[in-house]
């Protein structure tokens, strides 16, 4: 770990170093919104933005991903032949990823890569080959609540390096071996620089106005939460669309399909969501989550109770606020969790 100073007029060199053997992506102004895109010209990289419109999870967990291809000819003595998909051909870097999104990737590591049996190659391959260079939030939005969700505007979890905009220069803190090379040749940060960064961090944390309580959610038994009367009302306006799930950096449910045409086919993994009745319907027609209430409850119980129970207190939410802004019927997760915690 090293604290270095990156002068803003040296950014070109810095990005050049990153680009040397990696494909670099960064938030850019695409049609008026901050969106992830390949970084072609350094000057299009955004430094002043709230967060990207959608989360970066699809860099590691694409909405549609071919898992393998197969040929199945009855006449072939070898039977069905399965062919693996190529690995990610080139390392990548995501620059100016927000700390909440990096934290979300760390939470997803705990889901996709658990042990020998649950060790998702597709996720791991892309994670291992991607460097995350974060940009701390100095001006969090009114919808941000990261500080309530094991995270914060200057959080370093999940990042390889964190940059803090000190105004005339950047503080670059390297956090992993993967990022060591980035610090080479850069001057050390002075005590005053570190003090300024600490001050910005404190101010950013303080400016987060949304507080979400988790103490009672944690203390309550699962069934007590499951049977709270609030569930009878919160689902009323829900459309059961997938907006919250698909904009969420930590939602990770998927559906696997074999697409077959004659003797050839492929296995595809697509994002799916627990808001959809189809997600849980059985072949018999029985649906264990048959009502809208069941489905809405599932999403929030999963994030705020089941994941914390199973993953050592980690929460399936990082407080990025995307769903708060994008839900077509304003189901506000902050209000909802506070109701669970009431």
């Amino acid at each position: 770990m090293a604290d270095k100073i990156l002068a803003k007029d040296k950014l070109g060199e810095f990005l050049g170093k990153l680009k040397k053997d990696r494909q670099v992506f960064g938030p850019q102004n695409v049609e008026g919104k901050a969106q992830w895109a390949p970084l072609e010209a350094d000057e299009t990289l955004l430094w002043e933005f709230a967060n990207t419109h959608l989360s970066p999870k699809d860099f590691f967990f694409p909405q549609t991903e071919c898992m393998m291809r197969f040929v199945n000819q009855a006449s072939d003595e070898q039977g069905m032949i399965m062919q693996a998909e190529p690995e990610l051909p080139q390392p990548r870097a995501l620059v100016n990823i927000r700390p909440c999104d990096a934290k979300a990737m760390q939470v997803l590591d705990l889901i996709f890569v658990q042990d020998q049996m649950t060790n998702d190659f597709y996720w791991r391959d892309k994670r291992e080959k991607t460097l995350l260079v974060g940009l701390a939030c100095n001006d969090p939005c009114p919808t941000c609540f990261c500080t309530s969700m094991n995270c914060g505007p200057h959080s370093t979890t999940g990042l390889d390096a964190l940059m803090v905009d000190l105004g005339d220069k950047l503080l670059l803190t390297t956090l992993t071996d993967k990022a060591q090379a980035l610090a080479e040749g850069l001057p050390d940060a002075s005590k005053a620089d570190l003090a300024k960064a600490a001050e910005l961090k404190k101010a950013a944390e303080k400016s987060i106005a949304s507080n979400v309580g988790m103490d009672k959610v944690n203390a309550r038994e699962l069934m007590e939460l499951y049977e709270l009367p609030m569930w009878n009302r919160v689902h009323e306006s829900c459309l059961n669309c997938g907006t919250c799930t698909y904009c969420c950096p930590t939602c990770h449910c998927f559906d696997i399909q074999d697409e077959v045409q004659g003797t050839i086919g492929r296995r595809v993994r697509n994002w799916d969501n627990c808001m959809s009745w189809l997600f849980t319907v059985h072949g018999t027609g029985h649906n264990p989550r048959g009502t809208k209430k069941d489905r809405v409850r599932q999403r929030f119980m999963h994030k705020f109770k089941y994941i914390p129970m199973k993953r050592g207190g980690e929460i399936g939410c990082v407080g990025c606020g995307r769903c708060v802004l994008l839900c077509p019927v304003n189901i506000d997760v902050r209000r909802l969790v506070n109701d669970m915690n009431a």
Partner: protein, 323 residues
């Protein structure tokens, strides 16, 4: 004209009266959202809850959607706040035998024209808007580091601008006064750009418009026409439509859905308002709406008597397209 705040107060009064007199068990209206420009569908069951009802230019959901999406088996009578388009969708639901007229008590209201939050955001690219307040004919837009006044008519939803029926077509009670029928826009101009394009250019324009789709189905789920028990995209045997993000699958969903709405769509704009990525799916439906109007002289949901042209068979149909 009354302000939306005055209308909101009258809606609360009517709702409290209906609930306390036991005329209805629930009033479906809007409550103030927790983020700017997003008031949300609200279900008031008691006079106290009716205090939470509001009315504004940020009421972008089509409430008639909730007449069919309420849990099955409830026989209660509900009151619903309905402006022009919503009342037309209620007519449509009655005609399509999804609800009966006596199940709903319609609190009719003239539409003030709803605000397109994407248009407002586009005025302040990459900036965070923290509050938007209606002030006469303007909006006061406050954000992190700025405050500006924006004339509301410049940021109306396009479907509100081209609306032909702002007043409710059926109602049990009128809240406030009726308004002018239109906002002055010409709906034919929405479809016109498509009509000028050849097939290849049309396809390119279509691809461009729908390229950001994430298949969350918010457009479908916000739509009061989309009440199929199993939507064609969710059918598994056979699976009509693939699940991937590939063009053929995404296009199949949007094109088939648009056709399924032909002769039924009231151009309420709920689909566009629900879309998290700002797709203008009305570019498709407006052309279909125009065709139905020009070919059949029919505008959906205007009255309870006329027959929807695509739902009836006539022995003397000319069927010229076959020749």
């Amino acid at each position: 004209m009354s302000t939306t705040q005055e209308i909101a107060a009258q809606i609360r009064e009517a709702a409290k009266r209906l609930l306390s007199e036991g005329k209805v068990d629930c009033v479906i209206g809007f409550a103030q959202g927790t983020v700017p420009m997003r008031d949300y569908p609200y279900f008031a069951y008691t006079p106290e809850e009716a205090e939470n009802l509001t009315w504004s230019r940020f009421c972008c959901n089509n409430l008639s959607n909730f007449l069919i999406r309420r849990p099955k088996g409830e026989k209660d009578k509900v009151a619903i706040v309905a402006q022009g388009c919503v009342s037309r969708n209620i007519v449509g639901l009655i005609k399509e035998n999804q609800i009966t007229r006596d199940q709903v008590y319609i609190l009719g209201v003239a539409s003030p024209g709803m605000v397109d939050r994407n248009k407002v955001q586009a005025l302040f690219p990459l900036k965070t808007i923290t509050e938007v307040i209606e002030d006469g004919d303007d909006l006061i837009v406050k954000g992190m580091g700025f405050e500006e006044r924006v004339p509301t008519k410049t940021v109306l939803r396009q479907n509100c601008y081209t609306c032909v029926m702002r007043n409710p077509v059926i109602k049990d009670e009128m809240i406030g006064e009726e308004s002018a029928l239109t906002h002055g826009g010409n709906i034919d101009k929405v479809a016109a750009p498509w009509e000028k394009l050849g097939p290849e250019e049309r396809w390119a324009a279509f691809q461009e418009e729908f390229k950001d789709c994430i298949r969350c189905y918010a457009c479908r789920d916000a739509c009061p026409l989309c009440y199929c028990h199993v939507c064609f995209v969710d059918e598994a045997r056979p699976q009509w439509c693939g699940k991937t993000q590939e063009e053929a699958d995404v296009a199949t969903f949007h094109i088939l859905r648009a056709f399924h709405c032909a002769g039924r769509c009231t151009d309420c704009g709920a689909c566009e308002s629900a879309c998290p990525v700002g797709i203008k799916m009305r570019k498709l439906t407006s052309k279909i709406e125009k065709d139905i109007r020009e070919l059949y002289g029919y505008t959906p949901g205007m009255d309870l008597k006329s027959t929807p042209p695509l739902s009836v068979y006539k022995p003397n149909d000319p069927q010229e397209f076959i020749k």
